[in-house]
C-alpha cells in the first residue's frame, strides 16, 4: 500500500462524493423546502439519462441533447407536480412515500416500454474524450473531471441562489415556516412549483452527465436513490452545505472502505476469511456511518435551524 495509491483512492473518493452531491442536491432542496419526500427523484435522474440518449440519437450533439433533455425533464416534472404532487403537499409523509413509489414503478415500466429493457449507452462528447495520467498505468478520463467540475459548479450556483437572491430568501423562509410566508402574501404554491421544477432539472442533469460512464437501464435510479437519501440524512435535511459535505464524506468512506478494508483485515486475520469479511464490511460502512450520525446528531451534521 503506497502513498501514491492512497492519494489516488482519496481522489476517487472525492470524485464519487461530488457525483453523489450532484444527485442529492435536488432531493434535499425539495425535501427541505417543501417537506415533501420525493422518492421519484431516482426515476427523474433515470429519465434525464434516457432523454439525453434519445436527443443525442436525434441531434448527434451532446450539448444540444443535454439542454433538450433538461427542458423535457422540466416539462415532465411540472406535469407530475400538477397531476400528482400538488395534492400531496399537505398530506402525511407516508402517503407521499406511497404515491411517489407508485411513480417509480410506473416510470420504470414506461421507460422499458419506450426504450426496451436492454442497457443503452451515451458516448462521451468528442472534446472531452482524452485522459490524464494519474499514476503509471492508470488513465483518468477527462470526462470525470468535467463531472467533478459540474458538481462543484452546481454547488456554487445553489449557494449563490439560496443565499444571495430574493428567490433564495423566499425558499429559505419557506423551508423554515411555509404558512407564515404564505400569510405574508407570497404565492407559496408557485414557489413550490419553481423549487420542484428546479429539483427535477438537477436530477435530470445528474443523470445526463453521468450517463457516459454508466449504463443507462430501467431501474438505474433505484440504487442511486438510496445513496441520495443517506447523503441528505447524514448532511441534514434542507441544508445544501450539509448535503455537499455529507456527500464528500460518504464518497471517501465508501471508496476507501472498498479499497482498503480487505488489506486492513489481512493484518489481523488470514487472507481467506479477510476476503469474505472485507467486502461485507465495506458495503455496510456508509449505513453504519448513517446510524452513528443519527444516534449522536439526529438532525444531521448541518441541520437547518428552526425546524
Amino acid at each position: 500500500m503506497s502513498t501514491g495509491l492512497f492519494v489516488v483512492q482519496v481522489l476517487n473518493g472525492l470524485q464519487f462524493g461530488v457525483l453523489l452531491f450532484l444527485i442529492a442536491a435536488g432531493l434535499t432542496l425539495v425535501f427541505g423546502v417543501m417537506d415533501f419526500i420525493n422518492l421519484a427523484h431516482g426515476v427523474q435522474y433515470m429519465l434525464g439519462a434516457y432523454l439525453a440518449v434519445a436527443f443525442y440519437a436525434l441531434t448527434g450533439n451532446f450539448l444540444i441533447a443535454l439542454v433538450l433533455a433538461l427542458a423535457a425533464a422540466l416539462v415532465f416534472g411540472l406535469l407530475l407536480e400538477f397531476l400528482v404532487f400538488r395534492h400531496l403537499y399537505d398530506r402525511d409523509h407516508l402517503e407521499q412515500v406511497i404515491a411517489t413509489f407508485g411513480i417509480i414503478i410506473f416510470l420504470n415500466q414506461a421507460v422499458k416500454t419506450v426504450w426496451g429493457a436492454a442497457p443503452l449507452t451515451l458516448p462521451i462528447p468528442e472534446i472531452f474524450t482524452g485522459s490524464i495520467v494519474l499514476m503509471p498505468g492508470l488513465l483518468y478520463p477527462v470526462w470525470r473531471l468535467v463531472i467533478i467540475a459540474s458538481g462543484l459548479a452546481v454547488g456554487l450556483l445553489l449557494y449563490v441562489l439560496v443565499s444571495h437572491t430574493r428567490v433564495g430568501m423566499l425558499v429559505r423562509a419557506g423551508a423554515t415556516n411555509a404558512r407564515i410566508v404564505s400569510a405574508l402574501g407570497v404565492d407559496i404554491r408557485r414557489l413550490f412549483m419553481i423549487v420542484f421544477g428546479f429539483g427535477t432539472m438537477l436530477a435530470a442533469f445528474a443523470g445526463a452527465m453521468i450517463a457516459p460512464i454508466l449504463s443507462v437501464e430501467p431501474g438505474m435510479g433505484d440504487t442511486v436513490l438510496i445513496l441520495a437519501f443517506v447523503v441528505i440524512v447524514i448532511g441534514g435535511i434542507g441544508s445544501m452545505r450539509g448535503a455537499f459535505l455529507a456527500a464528500l464524506l460518504i464518497g471517501l468512506v465508501d471508496t476507501l472502505g472498498r479499497s482498503f478494508a480487505t488489506d486492513i483485515l489481512r493484518l489481523v486475520m488470514p487472507p481467506s476469511p479477510a476476503r469474505t469479511v472485507g467486502p461485507a464490511i465495506a458495503s455496510m460502512l456508509i449505513y453504519v456511518l448513517m446510524a452513528l450520525v443519527l444516534y449522536f446528531r439526529p438532525a444531521g451534521l448541518f441541520p437547518v435551524r428552526g425546524r
Binding site: V8, Q9, Q109, L138, L139, S215, T255, T262, R275, P279
Partner: protein, 391 residues
C-alpha cells in the same frame, strides 16, 4: 349383469378408450418462467423469444401436438416465482415448465414443480447442487453447469501461460462459484481477489487497484448493467491495452449493444457463439435477427434447444405425456439436433458439450457479437456428476 350395469360398463370402456386417444389431440401445455421485469428483463426476453421462435419454426407444434404457451414473469423474486410456478403446475396443468434465468429462482421452484411430477427444463440456470447430490429425475438442463464457463477461462489462462491474474466478481453465491471455478484450472499467481457489492456503479477504486497490481490479465464475472459499467470504465482508464480481459457472462449479446467498441477484443468463456459454424445454427441466428431485430445470446439458443428437446422426446413417445417414466427416458435420449452441434445428457441430466474461448468483434453490419476463437474443452462433463445418485 343387469342392462343398466352392462350399458354403464360399455360406456366406461368406450370413454376410457376415447380419453386415451383424445390425449394425443389435446393441446400440449408449456409454462415458461423467466425474469421479464427490472434490469435483467432483456435476458428473460431472449429466453422467451428463443422458445417461441422454435415453436413457430415447428409450425406451432411440439412432437405433433399443438402448443399452448403460458409465459410468467418471476420478477427475480423467489417468493413470486414459487407462486407463479405453482400456478403453472396446478391451474394451467402444464406438462413442461421451461426456465428460469437465475439460479436463486431455480432453487426456489425446483421442489414445487418436480414434486408434482412436472418436467422442469432449465435453459440457463445450472446450479451445482442439482448436478450433484440433489440431482432430480424430473429436471433437465439444456444450458451448462454454472461453474463450467468460468473453468473455461481458468484453463485458457493456464494454457496461455499467464502468470498473474486479478479476479473480481459480485459478492453473492454465483460470484463466489465463479471465482472458485476459475481457480480450479488456473494454477498461477492471484494478484488479488475482489468481491464487489451487487449492482455497483462506479469502479474507480477497483480500477486503481488493478493498475497498481499490474496483472497479465483480469478475470471478471459481472452480469448485466454491472458488466456494462465496468467494461466502459475499464476501457476509459486505458487498461484495455495493458491487461488482458477474461470474463464469463460479462460481454455477451445482451450487454454488447451498450458496451459497443469498449468491449472489442475482450474474451469470454461460452458453450456457443452466433458464428458457430453449422447449418442449423446459421438458420437460427438469421431467423432470430429477422424476427426480433437483435443478435441472439446464449439465453435464446438454449431456450430454442429446450423446445427441440421437448419436440424430439414427444416424437419418441408419440405425443404421450402421461407415462412419466417413458417421457423421462425419451428426454434422456436427447433426440434432437442441437444448435451447438454435439449434445448428450450426462447421468445427472446436465449436458456434455464443447466449450470455447470467444472474442468480441464487430460485424460488417455494425452490430457486435461474440465469435469463437479457440475450443478449450471437448465433450466436457461437469465435476459434480459423480456425486449424483442417478445412474
Amino acid at each position: 349383469m343387469g342392462t343398466s350395469k352392462l350399458l354403464t360398463t360399455v360406456a366406461a370402456i368406450a370413454l376410457f378408450g376415447a380419453a386415451g386417444h383424445a390425449q394425443a389431440q389435446e393441446k400440449l401445455k408449456v409454462g415458461v418462467i423467466a425474469t421479464l421485469s427490472g434490469p435483467p428483463a432483456v435476458l428473460g426476453q431472449q429466453l422467451r423469444n428463443g422458445f417461441q421462435l422454435a415453436v413457430k419454426n415447428l409450425g406451432g407444434k411440439l412432437g405433433g401436438r399443438e402448443v399452448e404457451l403460458v409465459v410468467e414473469d418471476d420478477e427475480l423474486k423467489p417468493d413470486v416465482a414459487v407462486n407463479k410456478a405453482k400456478g403453472l403446475v396446478d391451474r394451467t396443468k402444464a406438462d413442461f415448465v421451461v426456465g428460469p434465468i437465475f439460479s436463486n429462482i431455480l432453487i426456489a421452484i425446483m421442489k414445487p414443480v418436480t414434486d408434482a411430477g412436472t418436467i422442469l427444463i432449465s435453459p440457463n440456470a445450472g446450479t451445482s447442487n442439482f448436478a450433484g447430490k440433489e440431482c432430480n429425475p424430473n429436471f433437465f438442463v439444456t444450458s451448462y453447469q454454472n461453474d463450467q464457463n468460468h473453468e473455461v477461462m481458468g484453463k485458457y489462462a493456464q494454457d496461455a501461460g499467464m502468470k498473474k491474474v486479478f479476479l473480481m466478481a459480485p459478492n453473492y453465491q454465483a460470484g463466489k462459484d465463479s471465482i472458485a471455478g476459475f481457480k480450479r484450472y488456473f494454477k498461477g499467481d492471484i494478484a488479488d481477489e475482489v468481491y464487489v457489492p451487487l449492482g455497483q456503479l462506479d469502479y474507480s477504486a477497483e480500477l486503481t487497484k488493478i493498475a497498481a497490481a499490474s496483472p497479465d490479465a483480469i478475470f471478471v464475472f459481472l452480469p448485466g448493467g454491472m458488466g456494462v459499467n465496468f467494461v466502459k470504465q475499464f476501457r476509459q482508464a486505458g487498461l484495455a491495452d495493458k491487461v488482458k480481459f477474461l470474463s464469463a457472462f460479462t460481454v455477451d449479446e445482451s450487454t454488447l449493444p451498450a458496451q459497443k467498441e469498449a468491449a472489442l477484443g475482450f474474451y469470454g468463456g461460452a458453450n456457443w457463439a452466433p458464428n458457430l459454424d453449422n447449418p442449423q445454427n446459421k438458420k437460427f441466428v438469421a431467423d432470430y435477427e429477422k424476427e426480433y431485430n437483435a443478435v441472439p445470446a446464449t439465453y435464446a439458443f438454449q431456450a430454442y434447444d429446450a423446445a427441440l428437446l421437448i419436440d424430439g422426446a414427444l416424437k419418441l413417445t408419440k405425443g404421450n405425456t402421461s407415462d412419466k417414466d417413458a417421457l423421462r427416458a425419451a428426454l434422456m435420449k436427447a433426440n434432437f439436433t442441437s444448435l451447438r452441434g454435439g449434445f448428450k445428457f450426462n447421468t445427472n441430466h446436465y449436458p456434455i458439450q464443447n466449450f470455447y474461448q470467444v472474442k468480441v468483434a464487430q460485424r460488417a453490419d455494425g452490430k457486435f457479437e461474440t465469435q469463437i476463437d479457440k475450443k478449450v474443452f471437448d465433450g466436457y462433463s461437469d465435476p459434480y456428476a459423480k456425486d449424483c445418485p442417478m445412474k
